[in-house]
């Protein structure tokens, strides 16, 4: 660079403290022990589904929370991933380990196509375009009977094995999902911590200013869609091989809404939000089951309360709590709090 080779400026990234590492360790041990702690496979099943939803939610979060791109085709894209894996497995006998990357590639490519209109239309117009393209995907899944089995879907998808160990029940499958989710999370952190993530946020915050900074917005918009679809594809392959049966009605617009709800309850624009929301919502549904017909009413009210009072979701509640305790400790160090707030970079 021609201007000023920086000489003494120090990078300001923090290294996690010992306490944080201990916390990570504890969480890790609990995560590994879950199948043993769980009282029955059903509880593990709930967690497995939560893991699959977390993956989709991470993808949605990257596109919508970080890059500001309305991808409301996430449910149908999840279906593309699931169908890719299911077709490869039931027709050609290809095992899960090859289907996973294949689903990610196919879904990523279709996701990029779904993202192309984002170059022309914005906000609510983009919302209906992605909803519409999602519907088109779903209709294709429904009507290409020779390929997809039509409305009755595809049964008898084989569960994967791992070096001779069949992952043929929820407890065993749990570890597979855990590994993929952790990798997916770390990868998302890696991408978002990189200039790609900053470019995403720049595109979201101010489209024109981002272009003025030399950011090829076309590339980043389509990339955001593609990455979100890759996550949906991975989730689809896992789901197909866990469930062993898939049908088009699973991947309708309502599934997009479900993932969007969990992401926003957890915290849009925060990867931790995807994890929290992905765990919280299925568990909330379980708890609400006892009130039967009222559960969806309560659910709707809960969504409105979150949107109106804590638009940043659970992550924001946690941050507010942390901030208020920090403020009590030292009222003078407001700039530090502000810096911390910036570092967490939740919803502005």
């Amino acid at each position: 660079m021609a201007i000023l080779d920086g000489t003494s400026g120090s990078p300001t990234r923090k290294k996690p403290s010992v306490g944080k590492w201990a916390l990570y360790g504890a969480i890790g041990i609990i995560l590994l022990a879950v199948p043993a702690i769980a009282q029955n496979p059903y509880q593990v099943h709930i967690l497995n589904m939560a893991g699959i939803y977390i993956l989709i939610s991470l993808g949605l979060n990257i596109a919508m929370g970080f890059a500001g791109q309305f991808n409301l085709a996430m449910g149908p894209l999840w279906g593309v991933g699931a169908y890719t894996a299911a077709i490869l497995n039931t027709r050609y006998g290809i095992p899960f380990w090859l289907n996973l990357p294949a689903s990610m590639v196919v879904t990523g490519a279709i996701g990029a196509l779904v993202g192309l209109p984002s170059l022309k239309v914005r906000s609510h117009y983009l919302a209906i375009v992605t909803i519409g393209l999602g519907e088109v995907i779903n209709i294709i899944l429904l009507n290409q009977e020779k390929l997809t089995g039509g409305a009755l879907g595809i049964p008898k998808i084989a569960m994967p094995g791992f070096f001779g160990i069949p992952l043929n029940n929820d407890r065993r499958f749990y570890y597979l999902i855990l590994v993929v989710v952790v990798l997916g999370y770390l990868l998302a952190r890696q991408i978002l911590g990189h200039r790609i993530g900053r470019s995403f946020r720049a595109v979201r915050d101010d489209f024109q200013a981002a272009r003025a900074m030399g950011i090829d917005t076309t590339y980043y918009q389509v990339l955001a869609f593609a990455i979100s679809a890759v996550y949906a594809g991975a989730a689809g392959a896992l789901f197909a091989h866990l469930n062993t049966y898939i049908s088009p009605d699973i991947f309708e617009f309502s599934s997009t809404l479900f993932v969007m709800t969990m992401t926003m309850v957890g915290g849009m624009g925060s990867l931790a939000g995807s994890v929290i929301g992905g765990l919280a919502l299925p568990i909330l549904q379980e708890l609400l089951r006892v009130i039967k017909n009222w559960q969806l009413v309560v659910y709707g009210v809960a969504i409105m309360v979150v949107v109106l009072f804590v638009p940043g979701g659970v992550v924001e509640i946690a941050r507010r709590l942390r901030e208020s305790s920090a403020n009590r400790k030292s009222r003078s160090s407001q700039s530090i709090a502000a810096a911390e707030q910036a570092e967490d970079s939740g919803v502005p």
Binding site: Y42, H45, A151, G153, N168, S247
Partner: protein, 369 residues
């Protein structure tokens, strides 16, 4: 609504009193209790509950009362699989009803096969019994059993020009396939086959296209409500030929939706010969009406049949384990139910015959064979 609440309280109190010295035998029921398919779940619950209550009143099974645990999957296969896990591993049921929706039933099969729990369904998709599971039991005939006799009869009456209209749901797509196959059996093919989405309400485009081919017979391949709407619009667009369909058209719901005038003369097939067919059905219909305040239809009847046979299998199973119950289910031969004679085979099919009926004066009436 009030009656539903009351029902729930009664069912709950019955379940409570059942908890005596002997632990109750738990039966799971997964079905659509909300959403557009809620009526199917409701019918299943009514038929099953009636049979259970009668058995409990007669002393249960070797002194143990039967307890029904109901879950709502809103016809969503993902939710259904989760609930299947729940009833299998948390509630540890003896047997389970899951579900009327063929796609949910299919989704649940691997779970109940894994946990070796007998799964009863009244879904009609034929592939349900070809999944290689010995724990799945269908309590009604499979799809082709409805469409073959219907088409055979109409062809015998001299009709050759058929057209099919159905929805894109699992049920609709299945029916279209069976109707097409039934026509092929008779060396015919449909003049036109049209489909519509389950949310569609106007079928002018499809019907206008179909009527260009001037069919004599319009075969409906859809559920009660959509079938009724299509029949109504077909008549309003001037179709004067025959309208016919599978068991969905043999329901009061179809007559209500289509309107009695439109429903008049519609042919249907049903395994259930009707409430007034014989002493058995009359007794069932009376008990059902006394319990639920409405007349039973085919779904109430086939789930009642299925629950009766399940009770039989549970009484015979020694010791009483889900695995033994399934084995006993397979041994059921010559059981006389409301729908006719059941002989279970290795795949889990119990009955194949259906009755041909026609709607006359707003009533379901059956033709002599």
């Amino acid at each position: 609504m009030k009656s539903k609440v009351l029902t729930f309280i009664m069912a709950a109190s019955i379940a409570m009193t059942a908890v005596g010295q002997v632990a109750p035998i738990k039966i799971g029921l997964i079905g659509a209790m909300s959403g557009t398919n809620a009526v199917l779940g409701d019918w299943m619950k009514k038929g099953v509950t009636l049979a259970i209550e009668q058995q409990n009143a007669a002393g249960g099974i070797n002194g143990a009362k039967i307890q029904l645990i109901v879950y709502d999957d809103a016809a969503n296969p993902t939710v259904s699989v989760g609930l299947a896990q729940k009833v299998a591993t948390e509630d540890k049921v003896m047997a389970v009803w899951a579900t009327t929706n063929s796609s949910s039933a299919l989704a649940d099969i691997p779970v109940f096969t894994q946990y070796k729990i007998p799964q009863l369904t009244n879904g009609t998709f034929d592939a349900i019994t070809t999944q290689g599971s010995s724990y799945i039991f269908r309590v009604c005939p499979a799809g082709p059993a409805y469409e073959d006799p219907l088409v055979d009869y109409l062809v015998k009456k001299g009709n050759t020009k058929f057209a099919i209209i159905g929805d894109t749901s699992a049920y609709g797509q299945g029916e279209i396939a069976y109707q097409t196959a039934a026509l092929t059996r008779n060396h015919l093919s449909p003049l036109d086959t049209e489909q519509y989405g389950i949310d569609d309400k106007d079928f002018t485009g499809q019907l206008t296209k179909i009527f260009r081919a001037q069919p004599d017979v319009l075969l409906l391949a859809s559920s009660e409500v959509a079938g009724g709407l299509v029949a109504r619009q077909a008549r309003q667009l001037g179709f004067t030929g025959t309208i016919a369909g599978g068991s969905a058209m043999g329901t009061p719901k179809f007559i209500e939706t289509a309107g009695a005038d439109v429903a008049e003369g519609v042919y249907f097939t049903s395994p259930y010969p009707g409430n007034q067919a014989n002493a058995k059905t009359r007794a069932f219909a009376a008990a059902y009406k006394a319990r639920w305040g409405e007349d039973p239809e085919v779904h109430g009847a086939n789930t009642y049949d299925g629950m009766k046979m399940l009770i039989l299998a549970m009484e015979r199973a020694k010791p009483l384990t889900p695995e033994n119950v399934a084995a006993e289910m397979h041994k059921i031969k010559g059981y006389q139910g409301l729908q006719g004679t059941f002989d279970y085979d290795a795949r889990g099919e119990g009955i194949k015959a259906t009755n041909l009926g026609i709607i006359k004066n707003g009533q379901l009436t059956y033709l002599e064979k």
